[in-house]
Amino acid sequence: MAALLELREVSKSFGGLAVMSRLDLHLDEGEIVSVIGPNGAGKTTLFNLVTGIYRPDGGDILFDGKSIVGKEPHRIAQLGIARTFQTLRLFLNMTVKENVMAATYGNTKARVWQSALRTPFARREEREVDALAEEKLSFFGKRLIGYRMEQPAYSLSYANRRRLEIARATGTSPRVLLLDEPAAGMNPVETHEITELIGQLRDQGGYTILVIEHDMHVVEGISDRVVALDHGEKIAEGSFEQVATDARVVEAYLGAKAVREGKAAE
């Protein structure tokens, strides 16, 4: 079976600094893959490369068998790759519902003149977009629906903003969801909830998910497969247990010295 998303020897450097070197990564349909690694390992760079914010210096990125290198970011998103941001980037002054509706731009067709004249086509499409937004928001139980839909996004709590980012990403009707630290800054209860939610996104939403996460409980709870990065290179790949006990991963997180001393203590 061909992978849904595949990176082949992708490299990227800024000036003389190689932030990604010959990375191979694949994501099969229906999988949840976690990317871990210390700060500066290149995890977010990986997302920026896939979504078209950066253009790789070498290698190829295939989505559904076709190369997406060099396509504009909105085209890539339209093809079916959606992401959230580590630092939240909501449309704060738009309502909660509008945030999700805005994400349907690429999948709707009404021209400006059709909207201005309220043609039947534009009206029908608008109703569909409205219904889609409510559906995506109701994925989070009652947290984002009801009166909250008409409130500006800045009125939401931090945890709800994180949820809205995910809802907005699903508003693009993607096949692959890239989640950048979905549990960052959440309390233990909310973190637990996010863990379950990511599973539901796959099972009920049918999304294939690539997630960057620092919280190892979350990683352990959700991952079919874990990929560890360090200095833009893949240092381990496999099940959570395999990766978590991998010597290079432990070294990357704790440093070689700590590993030696830890061994000595044993």
């Binding site: 979504t51 914010i53 504009e72 970011p73 909105h74 998103a77 339209q78 959606a82 992401r83 941001f85 630092t87 980037r89 909501l90 449309f91 704060l92 002054n93 738009m94 509008e98 509706m101 805005a102 994400a103 349907t104 731009y105 690429g106 999948n107 709707t108 009404a110 400006v112 909207s115 201005a116 004249l117 309220r118 534009a122 499409e125 608008e126 977009v129 009652k142 629906i145 009801g146 009166y147 800045y154 907005r168 990403a169 508003g171 693009t172």
Partner: protein, 478 residues
């Protein structure tokens, strides 16, 4: 038991918003019940009645200006309010529309196209120019885009002033493109669907129809995917791009639509004025359009309209001393009523100002009889001021100037004081303000106009920094 999908807080919130207090409460509740559609058509109805209420060509001309301003503010609102692009070249599109109409409907090149075709050409050409001038917005944002576009506005004025002797290599005679500083006179009146539009009144109705169509169209566009795309690009261009929005294309669309509306307004302006001149399209006008939009509330259609009404009509009202005086005292009292609580304190202050004036008048009359023998500008309320306001018969200008400086000092002191001291100082300051007004400002309406207009704008913006009908926005912490 709360309704499904709401909780207790929401129930209370809805109650709170419905719970207006004061005398205006029933009116405000009724206003809330009427939707935006009926409100707008009621507004249009009132506007349509306006030319029947007056015979004065001057007043109708002011109405035409208000509508032109409203159209310009609405067009600017697309670029600045929705797409969030600081476009300081906007006024060039207005001028370009006017000149383009002049080229195809005047004796300049002896071309007299049918009005419908001329307008089509103007709108298309303006939109294309908008696309072109929108291109820098792909790379530049904020201040950088602002200075680049300002450059275009300046170029336009320079070109129109100087392209009266354009020497082209294949022509023997220099080409007179714009008429230079003298502009292009003798522009054809419009004739739409076979109906001639000879007078200002006809243009008022034409503008009203155009205005109605533009407002309705923009209202729907704002509620559509395009409007959401613009606002999303304004909020966070990168996030918008990654949520399938082609940000660059939408920026160009905003520029083109804004330019098309400005160009259309320009063509009507050219026809009303039957001539176009470079000085019609200078940066001052740009600032006034921005003032209208920001005063009303950028991003809001009704705000742009209200702002345009204020910016285009208030300077005209201030033109005659009598109206200006009425506006001055009405504004002073309105500000006091709006800001002073409780009403007992307000009553004390007003009473004290009156008493203060009478006492000062008597003291000055005793000490220096000529000090009260001057004459103020006539008009409706001058009789009332008779034994209250000190009007020196000599050295009026000098005393007025000193009082002006004192007034500024008084206002500054007021902003620093709190409590009773503030109320105490308020009384002489108010009197001083009236004194300066009667002695100095009313004597020179041309200067006063600008000053008072500026003061009104400052006061309004201080009260509502996000504009009269705008909604407060938060900044993205990026």
């Amino acid at each position: 038991m709360p309704r499904i999908g709401t909780d207790e807080w929401v129930e209370q919130q809805e109650l709170r918003t419905e719970y207006y207090t004061g005398l205006t409460a029933p009116a405000r509740r009724a206003f809330d019940r009427v939707g935006p559609g009926p409100r707008f058509f009621a507004f249009l109805g009132i506007c349509a009645l306006f030319p029947f209420l007056t015979d004065s060509p001057f007043l109708i001309r002011v109405g035409v200006n208000v509508l032109l301003f409203a159209l310009l503010a609405l067009g600017l609102n697309i670029v600045v309010g929705w797409a969030g692009l600081l476009d300081l070249g906007y006024v060039a599109f207005y001028g370009f529309g006017a000149y383009t109409y002049a080229w195809v409907s005047s004796g300049q090149f002896d071309i007299h196209l049918p009005t419908e075709l001329a307008i089509l050409i103007v709108v298309t050409a303006s939109a294309l120019l908008g696309l072109l001038l929108g291109l820098p917005s792909w790379r530049l944002v904020g201040d950088y885009l602002a200075i680049t576009t300002l450059f275009f506005a300046q170029i336009f004025v320079e070109l129109t002033t100087n392209l009266d002797r354009l020497q082209l290599p294949w022509m023997d005679e220099p080409l007179d493109l714009t008429g230079g500083p003298n502009g292009i006179p003798g522009i054809d009146r419009m004739q739409i669907l076979g109906i001639e539009l000879p007078g200002v009144r006809d243009y008022f109705f034409l503008l009203l129809i155009v205005f109605a169509l533009v407002v309705i169209g923009l209202y729907y566009v704002n509620e559509s995917r395009t409007g959401r795309g613009w606002r999303a690009s304004r909020e966070d261009p990168l996030a918008a791009e990654l949520m399938t929005t082609p940000v660059n294309r939408l920026k160009l669309l905003a520029f083109a639509m804004g330019a098309a509306i400005a160009g259309l307004s320009g063509s009507i302006f050219a026809a009303v004025q039957t001539g176009v001149f470079p000085q019609n399209f200078e940066v001052v006008l740009l600032i006034m359009i921005y003032a209208a939009l920001i005063l009303g509330g950028a991003g809001s259609i009704s705000g742009a309209i209200l702002g345009a009404i204020i910016v285009a009509s208030v300077p005209e009202i201030l033109r005659t001393p009598e109206n200006a005086r009425f506006l001055f005292y009405a504004a002073a009292i309105a500000v006091l009523v709006a800001t002073m609580r409780p009403w007992q304190r307000l009553a004390v202050v007003v009473g004290a100002v009156v008493a203060f004036g009478v006492v000062v008048y008597q003291l000055v009359a005793l000490a220096w009889p000529e000090g009260v023998e001057g004459e103020t500008a006539g008009g409706r309320f001058s009789g009332l001021l008779g034994s209250w306001m000190v009007i020196p018969a000599e050295n009026q200008e000098l005393i007025g100037n000193i009082a002006f400086v004192l007034l500024v000092a008084g206002v500054l002191a007021l902003t620093q004081l709190r409590g009773d001291a503030r109320v105490m100082l308020l009384v002489p300051t108010l009197y001083l303000a009236s004194f300066v007004w009667e002695n100095r400002l009313i004597a020179q309406p041309s200067v006063t106009r600008q000053l008072l207009f500026g003061a009104i704008l400052v006061a309004m913006m201080t009260r509502r920094p996000h504009g009269l009908l705008g909604t407060p926005r938060v900044e993205n912490p990026v």
